[in-house]
């Protein structure tokens, strides 16, 4: 791979990692939701993200051209090699946390993927076109939940506020550009995340403000996901997720 291909590969794996890690967290709600209906709904979101991960990884493997598969990428890298942004890997915590995180990434992806549809790379544009529809649908679910919990009981409001506090430091990384991502932006392949931040802040603050909940401007505080510097949660997730493949590598399942 030349430098450009390497950057593209890195980009695709990173987006795949974001998706696979979030899908894993969402799947942990299975049989644990507050309503049976929510088990199904969160499962649907998880399935959408697994689908994204597979598309990004498959294309990454194609770009790499070494015959690796999506599962090689997902199951045979350790936490220092995973490059997801940290917000995706945080434990599911309570339902409020899961929904606030989802609301945050839904707002982000609705705009990010919309712009990514203009990628000069047709495969990426096609993935984005499929995924943006999913994220719009996700947002239509996460917003009413935030509203109901923020304006429900004292306890639900407290939990929303705890979730905001917990997530505050992890939002900024969504908008952090690295050199290699910047060079993909210049080639018309990727999207400049940094430019999305202002609108994201405005949207989120307006929405939360309508329920009288305050959220400060997103600031970049905790970073490292793209360089494989994670929270301590990811390693535990991977030890479970990868156990079978690590135990019996190279087989058909």
């Amino acid at each position: 791979m030349n430098q450009q291909q390497q950057n593209l590969f890195r980009f695709l794996v990173a987006l795949g990692d974001d998706s696979v890690v979030l899908s894993h967290r969402l799947s942990e709600w299975c049989s644990n939701g507050p309503y049976l209906e929510e088990d199904i709904a969160l499962g649907n979101v998880a399935l959408d993200y697994i689908g994204r991960a597979r598309m990004f990884y498959q294309y990454a493997c194609e770009v790499e051209g070494k015959g690796r598969t999506e599962d090689d990428i997902a199951y045979f890298r350790n936490e220092r090699e995973y490059t997801n942004l940290l917000i995706h890997e945080l434990p599911i915590n309570d339902f409020a946390f899961t929904m606030v995180r989802q609301f945050f990434v839904d707002v982000f992806y609705c705009e990010y993927l919309k712009q990514l549809m203009n990628s000069s790379d047709e495969t990426i544009a096609a993935i984005a076109a499929k995924a943006v529809k999913e994220s719009r649908y996700h947002l239509k679910r996460s917003e009413p939940w935030i509203r109901q919990l923020a304006e429900g009981t004292d306890e639900s409001l407290r939990r929303i506020k705890d979730a905001l506090l917990e997530l505050e430091n992890f939002v900024g990384e969504l908008f952090l550009m690295s050199d290699w991502e910047q060079s993909l932006v210049e080639q018309g392949i990727a999207v400049d995340r940094a430019k999305l931040q202002k609108d994201w802040d405005a949207y989120v603050q307006k929405f939360l403000g309508e329920s009288n909940v305050h959220f400060p401007d997103s600031q970049l505080q905790i970073r490292g996901g793209r360089e494989g510097i994670h929270t301590e949660h990811l390693g535990h997730m991977l030890s479970e997720m990868q156990y079978i493949q690590r135990t019996m590598p190279g087989l058909q399942w």
Binding site: H24, N32, R147, Q148, R159
Partner: protein
């Protein structure tokens, strides 16, 4: 007057049953018919819901992304079946929260097979193949059940279940044709789930407490033993295709009967597990309760939010 009416209604009900017409929620029905249906349908619904746990146990450890997606979708379908069956049961005049309460307090049962643990990835295959397979045999028969909403639920559910069964078999096939270690996983899983799958059809016809009346009312359409035989007959050739050893050494084609003969079920184990001593009975209900309790604040918030919205609407209307 009441008894004349009642006699007429009973006659009308009997006529419908005799003529294979469906009973619908608004129709008159005998109390015991209603109770029997509630028992059977809610047990069916609870089985779908509790059944999410043993398979859900492997979602986070599925060996490939594709398998993980398929498994997650399957467990979701079960949740969907649970919902659908709860709704169908509610047409009989009982609420979902009453049904859930009966489950959690042990008044209502669920399929005993979900009290066995899933101990390897192959168990996911075995459950899809054998447990869903046994369920389908039962459910196909129930498509002709006399209560309309239940019958329609069965028709809808059967389609998805056959899909699940194929996926389960596909997992078993990949393992059985894989390395010796994988084949061993498949053999072990089948061995453990074989007998509990046979037990899913319930006691022998001679021992079955509810069977006679259920057959009369056409809630049940075929006997436990007939359905069990049907399941064995369709499954044994599949075991042969997998190239696994038979889980029961007594399995043997009986030319004369035109069926497979097989060994006797350990009924002591059956009753032990039904009565709460299965490896996971306690865990399953505990898990269900914990999820339900942890969600209470969410449901409370939703109620509070709706009340506030209603109040606002009322105020602005006034």
């Amino acid at each position: 007057m009441q008894s004349v009416d009642s006699a007429a209604e009973q006659a009308e009900f009997d006529r419908k049953i005799a003529e294979e017409q469906k009973i619908e929620p608004t129709d008159w029905m005998p109390d015991d018919y209603r109770k029997n249906l509630i028992r059977q349908m809610s047990q069916h619904a609870h089985s779908e819901v509790i059944g999410m746990q043993p398979e859900g146990n492997w979602i986070t450890r599925a060996p490939t992304l594709r398998r993980k997606a398929v498994l997650l979708a399957k467990v979701q379908d079960e949740a969907g079946h649970g919902l659908y069956l709860y709704s169908a049961t509610e047409t009989l005049g009982i609420s979902r929260s009453e049904l859930i309460d009966a489950l959690q307090t042990g008044k209502a049962k669920y399929a005993s097979i979900f009290n066995y643990p899933t101990l390897s990835w192959a168990d996911v295959g075995a459950i899809g193949w054998l447990v869903d397979g046994a369920a389908i045999v039962n459910q196909i028969s129930l498509q002709r059940t006399s209560y309309g909403p239940y019958s329609r639920a069965m028709i809808r559910i059967c389609k998805e279940e056959s899909f699940h069964q194929r996926q389960g078999y596909e997992i078993m096939y990949a393992l059985a044709k894989g390395t010796p270690e994988q084949k061993q996983m498949a053999q072990d899983a089948m061995n453990r789930f074989w007998w509990p799958s046979l037990m899913m059809f319930g006691p022998h016809d001679s021992e079955s407490a509810h069977s006679g009346r259920s057959m009369k009312w056409k809630i049940k359409r075929q006997s436990n033993d007939d359905l069990r035989q049907k399941f064995i007959d369709q499954t044994v050739p599949q075991i042969e295709v997998l190239g696994l050893e038979m889980p029961d050494p007594e399995i043997k084609w009986n030319e004369e009967r035109g069926h497979y003969d097989s060994g006797e079920i350990n009924w002591e184990e059956f009753y032990q597990v039904i009565n709460g001593s299965g490896p996971c009975n306690h865990q399953r209900i505990k898990h269900h309760k914990a999820a339900h309790d942890n969600g209470e604040w969410v449901r409370e918030a939703v109620r509070a939010y709706r009340a506030k919205q209603n109040q606002k609407a009322a105020e602005s209307a006034a």
